[in-house]
Symmetry: D2
Subunit: 333 residues, 4 copies
C-alpha cells in the first residue's frame, strides 16, 4: 500500500485526493494546506488522513508519494524537497515556472531513481486516448495541421497570462499525440488592461515534416469553445470536447495531390466520404491518470506525462513568453 502526502487542498486538490484514495494500491495519509478552512474540509472528506499546515511534516513523514497541487511558482521548491526526502512526486500542471527548474528536478529524481508525473489530465481522457490510437495506427495518414481553439469567459489569473493558464492542456496533447517534433514557435497576443498579461493569444508551432499547429486562446469569449481539428491526407478529425456523446468525428474527407506534373500543374482530387463518431468510454480521466502513475511506480512501466514530458511543455510555454516579449519573434525549440 503506497501512502500519499498531498500538499494543497484548494480547487483541484480534493479531486486528486479522492481519486488516489479510491485506488486500492494507495491511500491518502497526510494532507497539508495553510488555510485552516480547507484543512477542515479535507478532514471531513478524508477522515482517516492526518492534517497539517506545515509541508515539512509531509517530507519528514513515511509517505511514498508527495502530490503537489499548488500554484506553479511553488512547484520547484516543494518538489525538490520531496525528492530529496526520497518521495515520488505528482505535480499539478504546468510542471515548473522554468525549464531550468524542470531539469534540476529531473536530475534529482534520476539520482534517486524516483518517479515524477505531471498532472496532464487530458492525456488520460478517452478522447485523447482514441486520437492517439488513430495516429499510432496511421489512420489519419500524413498529418498536415493541428488546430485548437480553447476560448471562454475565463477567470483572469493574477500572475500568469492566458497561455500559461490554458496552453498546458494543448501543448501536452500535441506532444503526446503528434510524433513530429516541434522545431519553432511564435506567439502573438494582447493585454487590454496595461498589466502585460495577455488575455487573448495565438500560438503557431512549426513541426517536422511541414506539419503546422495553431492555438487560439481567449479569456474574453462570450461562448465556450473546445475544438481541435486534425487534418491528414487519409482522414481528418474534429474533436469537440463540449459534445456529450460524440466528441470525436472522423471524416473520410481529404485532398490528394499529385505533384509529379510539377508545381505548375498540380493534379488535385477531393474526397468526401462518410463521417464516423467512435463510441468513447465515460470514465474519470484523473482516476485513470492516478492509476497509470501508481502502476508506473510499482511495475517500473513508462509514465506518459513524466517529468520529461512536463519539461517539453514548459519549454514551449517559455518560448511563448520569449516570443511575446520580442514582438512575435520566431523562437527555436
Amino acid at each position: 500500500m503506497l501512502k500519499i502526502g498531498l500538499i494543497g487542498y484548494g480547487y483541484w486538490g480534493p479531486n486528486v485526493a479522492r481519486n488516489f484514495q479510491a485506488l486500492k494500491e494507495t491511500q491518502v495519509a497526510l494532507i497539508c494546506d495553510q488555510d485552516p478552512r480547507r484543512l477542515r474540509l479535507a478532514g471531513e472528506n478524508l477522515p482517516q488522513a492526518r492534517l497539517t499546515q506545515d509541508p515539512r511534516e509531509v517530507f519528514g513523514s513515511d509517505v511514498d508519494i508527495v502530490a503537489v497541487i499548488t500554484p506553479v511558482f511553488t512547484h520547484y521548491e516543494l518538489a525538490s524537497q520531496a525528492l530529496k526526502a526520497g518521495k515520488h512526486v505528482f505535480l499539478e500542471k504546468p510542471f515548473t515556472s522554468t525549464s531550468a527548474q524542470a531539469k534540476r528536478l529531473l536530475d534529482l529524481a534520476a539520482a534517486r531513481d524516483l518517479r515524477i508525473m505531471v498532472d496532464h489530465t487530458f492525456l488520460y481522457t478517452p478522447a485523447v486516448q482514441k486520437i492517439k490510437s488513430f495516429v499510432d495506427q496511421d489512420q489519419l495518414g500524413r498529418i498536415y495541421y493541428y488546430d485548437s481553439t480553447r476560448v471562454n469567459l475565463g477567470l483572469f489569473q493574477p500572475d500568469v497570462n492566458v497561455i500559461w493558464d490554458l496552453a498546458p492542456h494543448d501543448f501536452s496533447i500535441l506532444d503526446y499525440v503528434i510524433t513530429e517534433k516541434p522545431l519553432a514557435l511564435v506567439a502573438h497576443g494582447q493585454d487590454f488592461f496595461g498589466q502585460n498579461l495577455e488575455r487573448v493569444a495565438y500560438v503557431t508551432v512549426y513541426l517536422e515534416n511541414d506539419l503546422i499547429a495553431h492555438f487560439n486562446f481567449n479569456w474574453l469569449s462570450p461562448v465556450k469553445v473546445r475544438t481541435t481539428l486534425i487534418g491528414g491526407d487519409k482522414k481528418m478529425l474534429v474533436w469537440n470536447d463540449l459534445e456529450v456523446d460524440e466528441k470525436i468525428r472522423v471524416y473520410d474527407k481529404g485532398v490528394s495531390v499529385d505533384t509529379r506534373e510539377g508545381q505548375y500543374n498540380l493534379l488535385v482530387e477531393y474526397r468526401a466520404g462518410d463521417m464516423w463518431a467512435p463510441r468513447l468510454e465515460h470514465r474519470e480521466a484523473l482516476r485513470a491518470g492516478a492509476d497509470h502513475f501508481v502502476r508506473g511506480i510499482l511495475q517500473g512501466t513508462p509514465i506518459v506525462s513524466d517529468g520529461q514530458a512536463g519539461l517539453r511543455v514548459v519549454r514551449m510555454l517559455e518560448a511563448c513568453n520569449q516570443s511575446l516579449r520580442k514582438g512575435g519573434k520566431l523562437i527555436k525549440l
Copy 2:
C-alpha cells in the same frame, strides 16, 4: 439608363450580370468572354446583350460602366483601359495584384472623375450591415478583439495562396466595421506540396487602441466554419454565417476591470446576461451592392467599397505575403 459592359462570364460573372440587369437604372449591353461556350450561355441568359470575345470592343462601346469579373492578375490592365475610355469600373475582389497598381487606378479615376467599386459583397449583407450599426451605435463598447475563422475543404487555387483567396472577405469587413486603424500584421502558414502556396494560414493584425484581430484560413478542413467573434467591454457578439436564421448572437456578457488598485490587485467583475439574435432581412447582397454603386454614380454619394477601400485590403494582402516570405516578420501598415 446606365449601360453595363461586362468582361468575364465565368463562375461569378452571371451573378453580376443578373443583378445589374435586374436594376431599373441599368442594363447589361455588352458581354465579353474569350470562351465561346461561356458567351453562348450569356446569350441564353441575357438575349438583349451584345456578345464579344474582344475586350477592346467593350472599351470602344458606349457603355457607362465596365464590370471586370476576371482573375486578379488581369484587373489592372483591363481596369486602366476602361478608365482611360471614360468608363466607371466595377471590379471583382481583390482590387489588384499590388497596391501600386491600385494607386495608379485611383489616380486615373480621380483625373477623370470616374467611380470605382470593388465587389466586396459581404459589406452589403444584412449581417455585416447589422454589425456595423452595432459598432456605430457603440453597443459593443470598447472592442478588445476581432477573431474570424474561415475554413473548409476549399478549391485549391493554382496561382494564389489561401490568404489571397479568403482574406479579402475578412479584411474588407474588418476595414468596414472596425474604426481603429490597423498598425501592423503578421502571417504564418504552410504549404504541404512544395509549391510555396500556403494552404493554411493564420494572420494576426494589431490595430490602434490595443485592439487585436486574428484570422484562421484553411483550405483543408473537413468541416466548413464561418464564424467571427467580436468582444467588447459592453457586449460581445458571435456571427455564424452558416446559420440560416440567427446568424448574429449578441451576448450581454463581459468582464469589467477596475485598474485603480494598480496592476497587482486588479478587480475583475464578470457579467453574464441575456443573449439576443436580431432578425436579419433575407436579401441578395450583390443586388444591394450593385444598387449602392449605381446610386453612387448617379447621385455622387460615397461608395463603401470604393477604390480606396480596395487599396487598403490589397495593402493588407501584400503585407501578409511579405510577412510569410520573411518567416513571420511583423509588417507595418
Copy 3:
C-alpha cells in the same frame, strides 16, 4: 423522344418543367396555365414550348405525357381526361381528393395500359434511398417505431388542413421504407380560428408486427424541424433533413430484451456503440424522379410512386380526416 404537356405553371410547375426538359428522352412541348403572367414566364424559361390557357389543347395534342401540377381538387378531372386521351400522367401530390377518384384513375390507366406517377419527390432523395437500403439490408433489424416531426411557421392553406399539406411526404416515405402494412390510424389536432381546418395535428399509425408510427405536424412552430427517428433492435437512425452534410446518423445503440424469463423478470441489455453518418450524394430528387418515370414508361419497369402508392397515401389522408371528424376515433385501413 417523349413529349410532355404540362398543366399548371405556378409555384412547382417550373421545377417540373425544367427537370423534364433536362432529360434527353423528353421535351416539354406544351405548357398550360390560366394566368397569362405565368404563361409569359413559361415562355421565357422554355422558349421552344407551345403555350395555352386551355387544358383541352393539351389533351388534343400529340404529347405522350401530361403533367398535372395543379391544386388537388382539380387532379381527378384533368387526369381522367388525359388518360382518356391516351396520355401517361404525372401528378403533383397528393394523388387525388378521395380514394374513389384514385381508384377510377387506376382503372382508366389499366384499361389503356398507361402509366401514372405521383410526384412523391422525397422518395427519390439520396436520404430516403439510403434509409430504404438500410431497411432492405435488414441493418436496423426489427423496427419498433417510426417517429417524424415536420413543423415550421408554414403557409396556411386556404382549403386543406396541415395533414393534407405536410403528411403526403411522410406517409409516402413510410409506405416506401417500411415493409409492415399499416392497420389503423388515429389523428388529433386543433384549429384555432374557427375554420375547422387543423393547423397542428398529431397522427399515430399502428402497423403489423407491433410497429408504431407517429407524426407531428405544425404550421405554427417558431422553428423549422424536419426530423425522423427510426428505432430498430439492431440499429437506430435519426434523419435530420435540415442538416447539409450529415442528414442521416446511424446509431449502434439499442435495447435487447430477453423475455424467456417471462414477463415479470425481463432481462434488458443496453447497447451504446458508434455513430455513423453515411455520405449522401448531392443531386436533385425531382430530376431522379422524372428520370425514373420516363424509364418506367420506356422500359416498362415498376414505378416506385405509381398510382397504387398514390392511392395508399390518399387512403391514409382520408382516414386522418375521418378520425378528426369523429373526435379521434381509430380508423381501420
Copy 4:
C-alpha cells in the same frame, strides 16, 4: 429547527437528504431503508442522522416531516401512516398510484392541518419559473399549443409504462404553467415485448380555449431530446433543457389571423422578428423546492406542488392508462 425523517435512500434519496440537510431550518434526523448497504452509505453521508430499517420507527419518532422517497406503489401506505402520526409529508413523484389514494391522503392532511408536497422538481427550475413568468405577464398572448418531446434510451421500469415514468414531469409543468384547464386526453402507445407496458407513447390533451397539448415519450430513442415548444399569438418559445446556457429561446414570430372576412377568406399575416434567450440562474431545483416546502410549513404560504397539484397529475396519468386500455378512447378529465 424542523426534523426530517427520510424513508428510502435509493437513487434519489441521497439528493433529497443532502438538500434538506443544507437548509438552515431543517436537519435530517432519521433515515430508513431496508437495504443495509444503503443505510451504511447514509451513515457515511449524514453521520448525525439516526438509521433504521423499520419505517414505524420514523412514524414513532419526533420528526416533523417525513420524506417518502420510495416506489409509487408504497406511497399511500407510508404517507397515510406519517399523516396519522402528525407528520408533514414530502413525497417522490408521482404522488400515488390512484387518484382515490391521493384524495384520502388529502383528507387525512386536511383533518390534521398538515402539509403535503410532491417532489415535482422541475417546477422549481429557473427555466420553468421563467416560462411561468412569461405566461403570467401575458408575453406569449393566447397560447395555441404546448408540445413536449421527452425521449432517450431510457431505463426500462419493471412495473410502470413510459408515461408513468416520464409524464409526471410534463404534466406537472403543464398544470403549473398553463392556466387553461385540461378537458380530456387520449394516449396511444406500444409495448414491443408482450408485457403490456408501453415503451413509447403519445399523449394529446385538449384544454379550454382550444388549447392543445401533445407529449412524445420514448424509452427507445438513440438520442436524448428534452424540448418543449409553446406557441402563442404574441410570441412563441422553445425550451431545450439540454442546452447549457440558452435553455429558453423566445421568438418574436407568429401568425395573426383576421377572421372578420369570414372563414373562406382569412387574412393571415406572418411575423418574423428577433430571437431572445433570457439569462437563467444556475441553481439546484431540489434545493429551491425543499426551501419552498419548509417556508410553506413555517409561514403557511401556498405550496406550488402540493397534494392537490399531485392529485391533478395522478388523474392525468390514470386517464392515460384508461385511454390505452380502451384502444385510444378520449377520456374526460
